[in-house]
C-alpha cells in the first residue's frame, strides 16, 4: 500500500491551481433558465480555451486524455477553488460525449464532439418515463422505423435541463416484440425537431431542474442511432458506467469542502446564549462524524482508482462509494440545518447555501438509482446475494 503523487502529478496540480485562480468564474451561478445555460456554457468555453475541455476524453478527439489520478486532482482543485462544476453540461460531457466516442459513427463524432467541447451546446437525457424509473428496462416510448427515419411518439420524464437543451440522448423502444432489454435503441434527438413539447417540472427546491418531454410523431433520422438499432440497452449501460467514474471523484471532493464549510459555520454561528454551535456537544459529535466520513469517502475514491491509473475503468466499489456518498450528504445537510439554528426557516441569500441545498440534494439519493436500488445492486453484484427485485 502506498500513496504518493509523482513530481509530474504535483506539477500538474500546481498548473490546475494557477489556471483556476486566473480563470475560474467568480460570479454566482444563476439558478435556472437561459442565464444558467449561458453561465455553464461560458465556463465550458473558458475551459476549452485553456485546454481543459473533456478531461477524460481521448486527446485525438480533442479531449485532455487525463488519467483518473489527474481527473481526481482536477476535481480536488476545482472544489478547493470553489470553481463551478459542469452544471447543465454534465450530460454532454459525462454521458453523451463518451457514448458517442465509444459507439458513435465517424460522422456523429465529427459533428457532435467538437460542439460539446467548445461549449456550444447543451444536452439532456431522455431515459426515464412515467412508468420506467428505477426499472429503466420498462421504457415504452415508441420508435417506429420507417424508411431512413424513426418516428417517435410518447413521453419522457425527469429530463434534466431539457428546457435549455439542444440535443437529447434518447432511449426508444424500436421493437416491442423483443425482450425488455432488447428492442431498445439509443438515438440522438435534436430538441428543435417538430413535435417536441418540453414542460418544466417545479421541484421541492423551488427550481426547474427537470422536465417532462412529449413526442408527437417526431422524426429522427436513422443516421442518429448510436450503436445498432435495438442494441440501445447495451449502449445505455455503457453511458451509465461512464457516469460513475468522474462523477464519483467530483462528488467526494465537493462533499469534503461542504463539511469544511459547515465546520467553519459552526465555529462562527452562535446559539441563543451566544455560545458557538461547535461547543454544542450534540452538534460537535455529528460534525466529527461527518469529517471522519468525508475522509473515508475520499479514501474510498482513492481505493477506487488504485492500480487503475490510466484507465477510466472504475471497479465494483464504485457502487459502494456512490451509496456512501449519497447517504453521507443527507446527514451533512441535516446537520447544516441544525447549525443554522433559527436561520433554518429561511431561503434568504445567507441561509440558502444550507437550506435550499438541503432540499436540492435530496436529488442525490434518488437520481441515478435511489439508495434503495443502489443497495439492491450492491447486494446482488458485490455481496452475491440472490436478486431481490
Amino acid at each position: 500500500m502506498n500513496f504518493e503523487f509523482s513530481a509530474e502529478d504535483n506539477a500538474f496540480r500546481q498548473e490546475v491551481r494557477d489556471w483556476l485562480v486566473a480563470n475560474a468564474l467568480r460570479e454566482a451561478r444563476p439558478r435556472g433558465g437561459r442565464p444558467m445555460r449561458e453561465f455553464d456554457l461560458e465556463w465550458q468555453r473558458r475551459k476549452y480555451r485553456g485546454g481543459w475541455a473533456g478531461l477524460s476524453w481521448p486527446q485525438l478527439l480533442g479531449g485532455r486524455g487525463l488519467s483518473l489520478i489527474r481527473q481526481m486532482i482536477w476535481y480536488e482543485e476545482t472544489a478547493r477553488a470553489e470553481a463551478p462544476g459542469l452544471g447543465c453540461l454534465s450530460i454532454a460531457l459525462n454521458h453523451a460525449g463518451p457514448t458517442i466516442i465509444g459507439r458513435g459513427t465517424e460522422q456523429q463524432k465529427a459533428f457532435h464532439l467538437p460542439q460539446i467541447l467548445r461549449g456550444d451546446v447543451v444536452w439532456c437525457q431522455g431515459f426515464s418515463e412515467p412508468n420506467a424509473g428505477s426499472d429503466l428496462a420498462g421504457i415504452r416510448l415508441a420508435g417506429r422505423v420507417e424508411g431512413d427515419s424513426i418516428i417517435v411518439s410518447g413521453q419522457k420524464i425527469w429530463s434534466s435541463h431539457a428546457q435549455v437543451a439542444d440535443f437529447q440522448e434518447l432511449l426508444v423502444r424500436t421493437d416491442p416484440t423483443l425482450g425488455r432489454h432488447k428492442g431498445i435503441s439509443w438515438v440522438i434527438c435534436d430538441m428543435t425537431s417538430p413535435g417536441i413539447t418540453v414542460r418544466p417540472i417545479n421541484t421541492l427546491a423551488g427550481d426547474q431542474h427537470f422536465c417532462e418531454v412529449f413526442y408527437e410523431d417526431v422524426k429522427i433520422p436513422l443516421a442518429s442511432v448510436v450503436g445498432e438499432v435495438n442494441d440501445g440497452w447495451r449502449v445505455a449501460m455503457m453511458t451509465l458506467a461512464n457516469e460513475r467514474g468522474g462523477t464519483t471523484l467530483s462528488h467526494a471532493a465537493e462533499l469534503g469542502r461542504v463539511v469544511d464549510r459547515l465546520i467553519a459555520l459552526a465555529h462562527e454561528r452562535t446559539d441563543a446564549n451566544g455560545r458557538p454551535m461547535v461547543k454544542n456537544e450534540a452538534i460537535a459529535a455529528r460534525l466529527m462524524e461527518h469529517r471522519a466520513e468525508a475522509a473515508a469517502l475520499q479514501a474510498l475514491t482513492y481505493a477506487l482508482i488504485s492500480g487503475d491509473q490510466n484507465e477510466a475503468k472504475p471497479g465494483s466499489n464504485a457502487a459502494v462509494t456512490f451509496l456512501f456518498f449519497g447517504e453521507l450528504l443527507q446527514r451533512v445537510r441535516v446537520t447544516g440545518l441544525e447549525v443554522l439554528g433559527t436561520g433554518a426557516i429561511e431561503l434568504s441569500p445567507e441561509a440558502e447555501p444550507w437550506t435550499r441545498s438541503w432540499l436540492a440534494d435530496r436529488m442525490m439519493v434518488i437520481a441515478g438509482g435511489s439508495v434503495q436500488v443502489r443497495k439492491n445492486i450492491i447486494a446482488e453484484r458485490i455481496l452475491g446475494l440472490p436478486r431481490n427485485y
Binding site: M1, N2, F3, E4, F5, S6, E8, D9, I69, D260, I263, A264, H267, V278, A284, L287, M288, E289, R291, A292, E293, A295, A296, L297, Q298, A299, L300, Y302, A303, I305, S306, G307, Q309, N317, V320, L323, F324, Q372, K375, N376, I378, A379, I382, L383, G384, L385, P386, R387, N388, Y389
Partner: protein, 338 residues
Amino acid sequence: MSSILLTVQTDDQAVIEAVAPFLRDEFNLSSLAANPGHLDPHFWSRVTELGWMTATLDEAHGGIGFDLVQDMLLNREYGRYLAPVSLLSTALGIRLLARRGVALPSGLRDGSERIGFAAFVAGGRTGSTLTGEVHLVDANAQYFLIADHGGAALFWRDALSQMTAVESLDPTVTLARATLGRAAATYLPADDGALPTRMQLLIAAQLTGIALAASDMAAEYAKVRVQFGKPIGAFQAVAHLCVDAAVRARASDAQVALAAIASRDAWGDAELQVAASALLAGSAAFLAGTNNIQVHGGMGYSAESGAHLFLKRSVLLKRLLPGIAASEAALLRRREED
C-alpha cells in the same frame, strides 16, 4: 509515476498470509463460541517464536522491521479472527521498552509472559504519576500497558492492589478492576513515542477486521438460510442490513489504510486521518456486529453462533481507544486555506 495503491498489493498479501492461516485454525468461531475463555496453553510461546510480538522492531532488535502499514494489516487480521486483545498490548509494550532502550525481560522474549491493556475507570494521570482505579483487560498478564493521549506507560502487576475479578462483557477476556498505586517507571510522553496514535490506529485496524468479518458472515448466512422458500438474502429488508454493514466496513477499511500510510509517512493531517479511522472503525464494527446478529435471527441470539462475539469485542476495543479529546479537536478544527 504516482503511486496510489490503497488496496491490498502482492507484498501486503504476504503479510496477511503470514498470520491468517494460523489464526483461522486457532480461532475457529464455533470453538471460540463454545469455549470463549480457552486459549491453547502454548499460544503465547508460539506467536512469540513466530516473531509476531517483535514484528515492528528493526532487525538489530530481533524484529522483522514491519512498518505501520504492515502492522495495520496484521491487526486487521487479529480483529477478523477475534484473536487475543493482548497480542496488541504485548507488541506495543515491547516497542515501548525497545524505544526506551530497556532489555526485554526473558519472559517476554520466550512468550511465558505477556502484557495486557489497562485503562482508567475514572481519573488517571497527573504529570508522570499514574494513580487510580483501572480496568485490566487480561487480568492474568504479568505486565500492563496504559495509554492516554499524552503518552503511554508500562507497569508490572506489582504496582496494582485491590484486584477484583469482574465479569467481562466480552467473554474472551479475563477482566478485573484494580487500583494502580504508584508511578510507572516507563511512562513515555507521546511526542517522542507516538505510541497512543499508533495504538489508536491499530485498534481501528482490529475494529475494521471485525466489521469486515461480521459483515461477510451476515452475507454468507443470508445466502444459505432458507425461509418462505428462498434464501433470506432475497428479501430486501435482510439484504439491506447486509449492505449497510458491508458499506461501512469497506469505508472503514479504506480509511484505516489511508490513515496508516498518512501516519507512516508523517503527513501533516495524519492525526486527523487516524482519528477519522478510529471513529469510523468503531461505528462500522458496532453496526456490522449488530446487523450480523439480526440477520442470524434466533441463531444470532444464541451464544452458540458466536455472532455476538464480534459485537462484544467491538465494545471492548472502543473502550480501549486512547485519548479521544485531542482527536476530537483534530476532527473539529477549521481547515485553513492550505
